[in-house]
Symmetry: D2
Subunit: 265 residues, 4 copies
Amino acid sequence: MVRECCIDIICEGCPVLLVIDERRRFIFQARRGAVQGSDKGVLRHDDILGKEYGSRVKLSSGIEAVVLRPRLMDYMERGFRRKTQVIYPKDHGLIIMLLDLKPGMRVLEIGVGSGFTTAVLAQIVGDEGRVYSYEVRKDNIEIAKKNLEKIGLANRVVLKHRDARLGIDEEAIDAAVIDMPDPWAVLHHLYRVLRPSAGAVFFLPAVNQVQRLLLALGLHGGWVGTSVYEVLLRGYEPRGDALRPYTTMIAHTGYLVYARKVHMR
Amino acid sequence: MVRECCIDIICEGCPVLLVIDERRRFIFQARRGAVQGSDKGVLRHDDILGKEYGSRVKLSSGIEAVVLRPRLMDYMERGFRRKTQVIYPKDHGLIIMLLDLKPGMRVLEIGVGSGFTTAVLAQIVGDEGRVYSYEVRKDNIEIAKKNLEKIGLANRVVLKHRDARLGIDEEAIDAAVIDMPDPWAVLHHLYRVLRPSAGAVFFLPAVNQVQRLLLALGLHGGWVGTSVYEVLLRGYEPRGDALRPYTTMIAHTGYLVYARKVHMR
Amino acid sequence: MVRECCIDIICEGCPVLLVIDERRRFIFQARRGAVQGSDKGVLRHDDILGKEYGSRVKLSSGIEAVVLRPRLMDYMERGFRRKTQVIYPKDHGLIIMLLDLKPGMRVLEIGVGSGFTTAVLAQIVGDEGRVYSYEVRKDNIEIAKKNLEKIGLANRVVLKHRDARLGIDEEAIDAAVIDMPDPWAVLHHLYRVLRPSAGAVFFLPAVNQVQRLLLALGLHGGWVGTSVYEVLLRGYEPRGDALRPYTTMIAHTGYLVYARKVHMR
Amino acid sequence: MVRECCIDIICEGCPVLLVIDERRRFIFQARRGAVQGSDKGVLRHDDILGKEYGSRVKLSSGIEAVVLRPRLMDYMERGFRRKTQVIYPKDHGLIIMLLDLKPGMRVLEIGVGSGFTTAVLAQIVGDEGRVYSYEVRKDNIEIAKKNLEKIGLANRVVLKHRDARLGIDEEAIDAAVIDMPDPWAVLHHLYRVLRPSAGAVFFLPAVNQVQRLLLALGLHGGWVGTSVYEVLLRGYEPRGDALRPYTTMIAHTGYLVYARKVHMR
């Protein structure tokens, strides 16, 4: 578990994002006596303990780098152990908006993967909120647990090694994120545990899954506002004198289907 | 100010989103004796007071509708008074992720517009957080104030009718959103008030502004991680038997430029 | 029928694109004594007869305009009578590349609509090529015929008021464009009349049609290189001092499915 | 030079596209006694000479493959020697439409690269058309020459090892494609040699180049219809039972700027 670190100063145990250049970025916890290696030189942790985040430091090679407080997005890129493809920040952003996520909410998650989406949800709901996360694979649970502990969010998450298709324990859920191949199989359980008017987002890689879910939502009859989205994020080379989009981009992660619970007819 | 309403039940003063069909959506506060009109029939507020959000109701015409708790996104579409083009939810989502927004943060906003971005920031930072919002136009301040009061978020926001180019009062800011035509004019003030390692997102409609900002960030020397993005959101007709993207889409709102404060060389 | 007009000079009967400004564009044939009206003033045809294409002219109001030789794309925007949604130039371009269209080819078209795609095909195959176009609706045939005559391409096209699902007369077809809701219903006929190794492009608005066609192509067994595309065209406001994408764009016309005929197993 | 091959039959010297699977695609000329190797087995050319394009063949390993007539797009992917980044077929398609390319046209090209765009232009203008191609680098000229000979289009192209900024010899040009870093440097020559009303497309990778060209076109005063485009091509995994976009895509090749010559004021 990460200690609550002193606001702006890097202390023993504080998480650090070391940026040497665009490609060389490392995340670690500062530990007296430890070192962080790279092909551009070594950083002695002792050189940054007691310094401010945002400081410039020198590697053993004399090359300059900066130390930053890692954001969730930085963890996603560098610091998370991962087994499966995770939802991307471009999608998380829209999920937050669609579900109207805010502090204090009780959120249900089905399909945890490496726990990155879990972390995003836990960060937003805050200490008074709670995330209930169902996952059928034991190895994913272990990875997610480690990842959440690393960033100090584990206390807001109830990780459950359970198949949500067999039932969901919680009630009065404010919002749900469903990342599983056959979400129609949990639709009745999901409906029961959501508070009326609450929304769910389903993440689905293939068109066929979207179609099947839309049919299931329609047949069920207790959902409104059903919408389907995909988010495309385009990055640019950040050069004022030669601005241009990067040559390649992620063209597809998955489709987002949103729907809200209402009373049955 | 909106009363803290009873969790799931529509009470006097509670905000309501009435959905008759895709095009007919209304947001209002429930008031005993009041009515909500539409070309498809009239809703008597008395018919929904005491009912659950998510209920189905009958209009005077016999047509069925549903009543929902409005999300911020619903307010943006229907309930906000607006004078200028606002940043879209597709952009807000990425802004939240880029800035690692979370409860308790102190956020700076320059350029308030109708207050929608302000509301998004205020919703995420929660009651312990604070949003400091600078705006040069008096009429925008008035509109934003009304909008924020309507959704019960005004107490988390300090609206300032001030030109941030002349100075920023706050300190130890955790994150900033800058929506003004000439952000380079506030760069030095912004740098001073941000906590080290904290990030800022600049929203800019035209390429030329992005280029000029990139040059200014580079010349200043106290920023890293500079990135430029655009977010494209594509919606689909939600029909399982005839799925297809909507014919038209918003192709451009603006570019997002992100950068983080580090120590000067 | 359009006379073969004198290379660069506007003669009696020559097609003219009059551009007053971005929104005021007119296509007509120059006729001695005729006038072209607009809310910005009137153009007397006599004022342009004998002048070069590319000339600047004055309307009755004194406002300046230019006269250009219309391209197919200009006809599509202004000069074509239309009943149904046409495939867009962004799609035509890719179709030309996928089918390797060139002068002298014999092209099959199923689904003529207003004849715009027909015109594109006819323009590329030249005088030695031929386009065979099947269309079930009589009114579409009439419109397409008029449109093709207007631009002088009718002599390269054989318009057939026939249901291609009942059979196709031609043989040794070099390339095919299929724009109908149920292309799987012509697959066997299409296969028979294509030369081996020749390709076909299918235009389909909905995802479900694409899926069904893919299954049909697979079951048939005589096709390779099957690919599915969508083309997104993004326009920018052409201002060097304030470059930005247009706010809205056409997000979807249809999917293009390409496949090539090979011997059956 | 490629012999004019017998319509549908693979003869000595005919170009062949061998497709073993999605990743294993080879282009070669059929030669008695020759072999085409691959890690999946060897193809003896003698096994396909005299057979129809579109035939299924067995490799030495017993694995089945098909032989096709290569399209220009296939050459681009497999058969062309290349030194520089070429314009992509997605862009060529729009270029053909914007310039209204057709048989018999006289087309100017500045910036030849590996000759792929040259080939596209030459294929469309046919035997009565002509492509005049300027290129400053000798090695590009050599590569383009070989590539054009390989596909039998060299006779329609006049390759010029010349700097177009110093002047253009031709006149009465119907259309132009300009792929060079500083197109503003040829604008006056280009204007002079284009027929009035004819169009030019400029291919530019960076935003800054687009801005500078737009300013130059405006200052010159002899151009109308100026437009800026980018083409995004999105491919899908062609599986009816699990349709989804490919994960990555080419997000950027370059911007296309189109303008037409008119009389100076």
